[in-house]
């Protein structure tokens, strides 16, 4: 939101005198103006000169630019069918659980104890999506676990055609997965802003999937403590991811770890405030049997929670 001074160039009625009047009642920026009680403001304007009333009208028009346009249900449905479809993950268990896969435009969280398969699912999804769709997959790696060799293994397991064809596809697929090694939350914010601006301006830059492994290890150092800023930054990241996903038709997948809850159970990390941020939450559980672990739905926008199919990483 801009300060009122910055608006003077485009809106001549918002001049120094008007701004002086506004600062006397506590309005320094458009944001303050929006928060100010409208009736009180209009009362004050009654006694003000005509010129100020023009300035007020101009402020209203500026504020109009800030809200998103109205969309009706039919347009939303068309948008969902064309742009926000389901992407298969390449893992049968998850595709069955989610009745299709990860949805574009939504945030999916994979949560579970250590060594339960979260990174493997991220790598498998990256390889599958890069192979099936002609677009870029962005992989943010915070624990140096991104393994191109493992991705090649996944690709060679699932493809059937002749060997030379496989090799060419492998190179193309690997060239469309971009990996960022990020070790603190501010670098992540910088990178996401950069991505947002690139997506707005470059026409041929298509990203279908953004995978962050793991988001919780970046947020854990700032959460809690006296500074009090941790929650703000956590929610800022959440909303930035949501905006990226919705505006630019990306499916965002990230991992979270578990912490000890009451009575020996474990619960997802990052607390109560984070619970409302992801659209879909999948809980992985560790299993020592050769059949693999279980996964279940903790939260979904329209499916019933609690299903538990069996799940194995090849």
């Amino acid at each position: 939101m801009r300060t009122l001074e910055a608006l003077e160039r485009d809106y001549p009625f918002i001049d120094a005198a008007f701004r002086g009047f506004c600062s006397s009642i506590g309005i320094f920026s458009v944001e303050d103006f929006l928060l100010y009680d409208r009736h009180v403001l209009e009362d004050r304007m009654e006694r003000a000169p005509e010129r100020f009333k023009q300035g007020l009208l101009e402020l209203y028009s500026v504020a109009e630019n800030y809200h998103r346009p109205w969309v009706n249900g039919l347009d939303l449905l068309k948008d969902v069918e064309q742009n926000k479809f389901l992407i298969s993950t390449g893992c049968e268990g998850i595709d069955t659980l989610l009745q299709g896969g990860f949805r574009i435009g939504q945030l999916t969280e994979l949560v579970g104890p250590p060594s339960s398969g979260k990174t493997q699912v991220c790598l498998k999804t990256a390889s599958h999506v890069a192979k099936e769709y002609p677009s870029i997959v962005i992989y943010v790696d915070t624990s140096n676990s991104f393994s191109p060799k493992r991705i090649v293994e996944f690709l060679t397991q699932s493809s059937k055609p002749a060997k030379t064809e496989v090799k060419r596809t492998v190179e193309q697929v690997l060239r469309s997965i971009v990996c960022h090694s990020i070790f603190d939350i501010f670098s992540l914010l910088d990178m996401l802003h950069q991505l947002k601006n690139q997506l707005k301006s470059q026409i041929h830059f298509h990203v279908k999937m953004l995978i962050i492994d793991s988001l919780s290890s970046l947020i854990a150092p700032i959460l809690g403590g006296g500074a009090g800023n941790g929650h703000t930054i956590m929610i800022t990241v959440g909303y930035l991811l949501k905006e990226l996903a919705y505006e630019h038709n990306i499916s965002v997948v990230f991992t979270n770890h578990t912490v000890a809850g009451e009575a020996g159970t474990s619960k997802p990390a990052l607390g109560e405030h984070w619970k409302s941020v992801p659209h879909v939450r999948i809980l992985f559980s560790k299993s020592h049997s050769p059949k693999g672990g279980c996964i279940s739905l903790l939260k979904h926008t329209y499916l019933a929670t609690g299903k538990v199919p069996e799940f194995r990483i090849p």
């Binding site: 939101m1 801009r2 300060t3 910055a6 320094f28 920026s29 104890p113 250590p114 060594s115 493997q120 790598l123 870029i136 992989y139 915070t142 624990s143 140096n144 991104f146 393994s147 191109p148 060799k149 493992r150 090649v152 690997l174 060239r175 469309s176 997965i177 971009v178 960022h180 090694s181 070790f183 603190d184 501010f186 914010l189 910088d190 802003h193 950069q194 991505l195 601006n197 690139q198 301006s201 470059q202 041929h204 830059f205 290890s217 854990a220 150092p221 809690g224 403590g225 500074a227 009090g228 800023n229 703000t232 930054i233 800022t236 770890h257 578990t258 912490v259 000890a260 020996g264 990390a269």
Partner: protein, 347 residues
């Protein structure tokens, strides 16, 4: 308030918001002098704030950088070549090396935990010696940093292991390079000791300070290829009332070590202790420092007793299946269990 997502101090943030600079774009057009005047801070501080804000904004400026845009990222294809040619540090036990895919890998943080007396410090010292094996013998030829928080680093043991390693190297060169009369550089055990940098740490604040300093130290000693912390747990176990604070400190340390491993292409080995956990009706040994710490490393190896044998189990790895291997702690260091005969490790 967008400015709250900038890495600035709380007081600076408070001053920015109360003077009306709530968004990052509002900082784009203001000069440093004006900002210093409005916030009542020094000119240098204002310059710093503007630099941080411009980094956020300029990173948002577009550039025609080709179809794979995002600055700072590398494609998986480029990383594949790096991964295939990355070197491993052998543990001197061939079965354990097999489970680890060749040995301890560079660019990754490996956590090794186990009961007291299982051989963690021995393994740490063995790695500090083995990282120095020259490239002609299949090693990396690097130096080691050993951060000792418990005081269990025994120089006599290091020189014992170093001598055994030097003897093995000579035997190897004699066996395989029989016709080569001129002998290779004879590594003496003293040379091994010269290349291990030992830091003794006595409190958790010293530990944190040392981890912060490591980046500067390693940029001056570029041939350091392994950092061993023995153990990461000791200073954090008692004297902590605020568990949340401990989690925050530990996650910050682990991220810094990850960054070091990636930036300087070295291996980081963290030795951990065990604690008991009540799980499914019985008490079990698990690695200390809790669940949040378990996610902080790339690989995890758990050392345990199997009857009278020492075994190592690879619990977590991004590209290797879980497996276990037996090893032994001998007078010469860590060796395979089956080597009653003096078998030279083939590389």
């Amino acid at each position: 308030m967008e400015v709250s997502s900038l890495p600035i101090s709380a007081s600076q943030r408070g001053k920015l918001i109360s003077s009306g600079y709530t968004s990052i774009s509002s900082l784009a057009s203001v000069s440093a002098d004006r900002l210093a005047q409005d916030l009542k801070i020094s000119g240098n501080e204002a310059l710093e704030i503007l630099k941080i804000a411009s980094r956020r904004l300029h990173k948002g400026e577009t550039e025609a950088s080709g179809c794979l845009g995002t600055r700072g990222g590398r494609t998986a294809w480029d990383m594949l070549h790096d991964e295939e040619s990355s070197l491993c540090i052998s543990t001197s036990c061939s079965e354990l090396d097999g489970v680890l895919g060749g040995g301890i890998r560079c660019k990754e943080v490996t956590e090794i935990g186990g009961e007291p007396g299982i051989g963690k410090t021995q393994l740490g010292i063995q790695l500090a010696v083995n990282v120095q094996i020259p490239a002609e013998y299949g090693g990396i030829g690097g130096k080691a940093i050993y951060i000792d928080t418990e005081g269990s680093f025994m120089v006599e043991r290091v020189s014992q292991m170093a001598e055994a390693c030097a003897e093995d190297l000579i035997q190897y060169s004699n066996m395989l390079l029989k016709d080569n009369g001129s002998c290779q550089v004879k590594k003496q055990s003293r040379a091994f000791l010269d290349n291990i940098f030992h830091f003794r740490v006595c409190s958790y604040t010293e530990q944190i300070a040392l981890v912060n300093h490591l980046e500067h130290f390693i940029s001056e000693h570029k041939d350091v290829k392994i950092v061993i912390v023995d153990s990461i747990t000791f200073q954090f176990r008692d004297d902590f009332d605020d568990m949340a604070r401990r989690t925050r400190l530990l996650s910050t340390i682990s991220l810094k070590l990850m960054k070091l491993a990636e930036k300087f292409n070295l291996a980081v080995v963290l030795l951990n202790q065990v604690t008991t956990k009540y799980c499914e009706g019985s008490f079990q040994f698990t690695l200390a420092l809790g669940d949040s710490w378990a996610h902080a490393c790339t690989n995890r190896i758990i050392l345990y007793w199997n009857g009278k044998e020492r075994c190592a189990y690879l619990d977590k790895s991004p590209h290797l299946p879980s497996a276990s291997a037996a090893y032994a702690v001998t007078g010469r260091g860590i060796r395979s269990l089956r080597s009653n005969c003096k078998r030279v490790r083939l590389m």
